[in-house]
Amino acid sequence: MTKGKILVVGGGIAGLTAAEKLARACLEVVLAEKSSALGGRVARLHRYYPRLCPPRCGLEVLTGSIQSFSNVEIHLLSEVVEVKKTAPGLHTVTIFKQPDEELTLDVNGLIIATGADLYDASLIKEYGYGQLPGVITAMELESIFRPDGPTGGLPVHPATGGPLRRVAFIQCAGSRNKNHLPYCSGYCCTVTLKQVQYLHQSLKDIQAWIFYQDIRTPGSKEEYYRQVREEYRPVLIRGLPSGIDYRADTGDLTVRCVDTLSDKEVRGNFDLVVLATGMAPPDLPDFYRIERDSFGFPAGHLPCDPSELRRSGIWAAGCVQSPMDAEDSVKSALAAVAQCLVKLQQQPALYPRLDPRKCDRCGRCVKECPYGACILGSDGYPLVDPGDCRSCGICQGGCPLLCLNLPGQGGKRIEEVVDRVLSQENPTPPILLFLCGNDAYPAWKKLTDLIEDNSLQGIIPLVVPCIGAVNAAWINEALIGGLDGVMLAGCPDDQCHHSAGPPLTATRMENLKETLARMRLEPQRVQITAISMDDSLKLSGELQRFKKTLEKLGPNPFR
C-alpha cells in the first residue's frame, strides 16, 4: 500500500477533489483552507453549465466523503507560510492557523489548489464598475439567486429592487487586452450562455444582449451555444463596447458599441450590465519556488506534461494552474493526484552519485538543479532524492570539482576517448560531438542511416541526457588532449525538456570561449548548435561547416 502524507493547500473544488481521491488511495491527507469554510468559489455559484444543476449537490457529496475518512485532517482559517525541503522527498511546511496557532508538518508532497482571483472590474474605467448602479460582474449575478445574496434570492435588480427586463452581457471585459489581461480565460463565454439560460428560465419577460469579440465555446460547448442561441434568441452584437452612460432619472444604462459586422454604432438601454471578467494570475508566494510562464501562471511542460511543475513534489490543481471552469478544475486535480501517486510509487530513476572525498560543499548543484531535487543535507553535502531526480545531469554539468556524476554518464567516457585518440599514430582530425539524448541524438541517428559516404568520419558522438550535463572540464580535457573541436548539439531554448539546459550551457561556453581566446586557442573550436528531432539535415550542414572551419584553423596546438 502507498504510504505518504500529502498537504492539499486550498479547499475549493480542485483541492477537495484532490484530497478526497488521495484519502481514498489510503494516503494521509492534510487539507489547509485559508477561509472559514470549504467549497471555494464553486460554493458561491447558482448553477453549473451545461446541465444547470446546483453546485451544492457535488460539493456536499465531496465534503461528506472527506469527513468520513479518518486519514484526512482539515484545517480551516489556515495559511501556509513556509515550505522548505529538509530531506530527500520531504517538505517541511509551516502553517499559520488563526487566531494564533502555528503547525509544522513533514509531508511527501504538496498539491497547491489555492485558486486565482477574478480580474478587478473597476480597473476597466470605461464600464464604470463600482460607480454606476446596475453594472455588476458575472460572479455577482450568480449571487442574486442565492438566499444569502443582496436580493435575498429574488431575481430582481440588485441596487433598486426593480424588475429585470433588459440585461446586457459584455464579454472579454478586461480580457484579451494588453492593458488588462492579455489572455482569454476560456470559461466566460459559456458562463454568459448559462446565465442567459437561467435568467430566461426564472423570468418570463426578459431580453438579453451579448456584446462579444468572438464566442469561444470549444468542443461540445459549441452545441450548448447553438442551443441557447436558438431557444432564447439573445441579441448578439460583435464588438467591444466603448462606454456606458447612466441616466439617473430613469435608471437606464446605455451601452455604446460599434457593431463590427455592420460597421454601425449600436446603442441599447438596459436595467443591468453584466461584465464577464476573466481570471487574474494567481498570487503564489515565493517559498514554493515555482517557475511561471509569461502570463504569471505556473509553467508545466506543454503539451507533453502539463501538470508537472519544475519543482519535484509540488503540483498545481485548479485555477492556480490556468484560468478554468469547474469541470477543468476537477480534471486538473485528478491529474495532480495521478502525478502524486506515481511519484510515491515509482521505480527510482537514474540519479547522480556523489564522491564525498572530492566535494567541497559549494552548493552549485543545489542552485542549478531545475527540479529542486538536490538539497544540502545537515552535514552540508548534497543529497539527491532518487524519486525527485529526473536524470537530466545538469548538476554534473555544473559541478566545478566533478564529484557528482550520473552512473555511466560521467566524464570517464571523455577521458577514454581522449586516450584513444592520443594512442593513434595519425588520427583524422577528430571532433567530439555531444548529443542531447532527447532530440539531437534521434536526429544524429537518422543522419547516420541516411549518409553512406565517409563525411561523418572522425566525428565521435557522445550521448548525454541533456546538453546541460556537459561539464566545461570535459571540453577542456578534449581540447588539452588534442581533439580539434567540440560541438554541443542541444535543444532549441524553448524545447529543452529540463528548461535550464541550453541557457546554462550557453553561459558556460561563453565563459570558456573567453578563456580560450586569452590562451590564443581559437574559440571557434567550441560550438553550440540547437537541434530538434527533425533537424538531421541542419545537423549535417552544421557538422560540415564546423569541419571546414577546423580545417582552416589547422590542428589543435596541444596535439
Binding site: 559549494c362 577521458e415 577542456n476 580535457e477 588539452i480 570558456l512 590562451m519 590564443r520 586557442l521
Partner: protein, 107 residues
C-alpha cells in the same frame, strides 16, 4: 601579483556561503564583495601567485598578472583544467606562445 576577477564572468558561486576561490586560497585573501557578491582579493600585495583560485574557478573568471620578475606586461600564464589533465599556456611579453600539458590524475 594579484588575481584579477572578471566581474561579468564571476557569479559569486551563486550566492554560496563560501565560494570556491575563498575556500582554496592558502592566504585567505579572496572574499565576496558587494550586494551582488563577486570575488575580490582583499590584500593584493600578499598574493603568492599560486594560481589555485584561477584553476578552481568554475566560471574561468580569474586571471593572475605575472610578477615582473617572471615576465613583463603583457606576458600571461593561463591554466586550463581538464578532468584528468591540466594545461598551461605561457605567452611571453614578445608574444611567443608555449603550451605545456600534464596528466594530473591517474584514476
Amino acid at each position: 601579483m594579484p588575481p584579477k576577477v572578471d566581474q561579468q564572468k564571476c557569479d559569486g558561486c551563486k550566492g554560496e556561503k563560501e565560494a570556491l576561490c575563498e575556500a582554496i586560497c592558502p592566504g585567505d585573501l579572496m572574499y565576496m564583495k558587494g550586494d551582488v557578491p563577486r570575488a575580490d582579493c582583499r590584500s593584493p600585495r600578499d598574493c603568492w601567485d599560486c594560481m589555485s583560485c584561477v584553476k578552481v574557478c568554475p566560471q574561468g573568471a580569474i586571471e593572475t598578472r605575472l610578477p615582473y620578475q617572471l615576465g613583463y606586461y603583457p606576458a600571461k600564464l593561463i591554466p586550463l583544467m581538464g578532468s584528468k589533465r591540466v594545461s598551461w599556456t605561457c605567452i611571453s611579453q614578445d608574444d611567443k606562445v608555449e603550451r605545456f600539458n600534464y596528466k594530473n590524475r591517474n584514476d
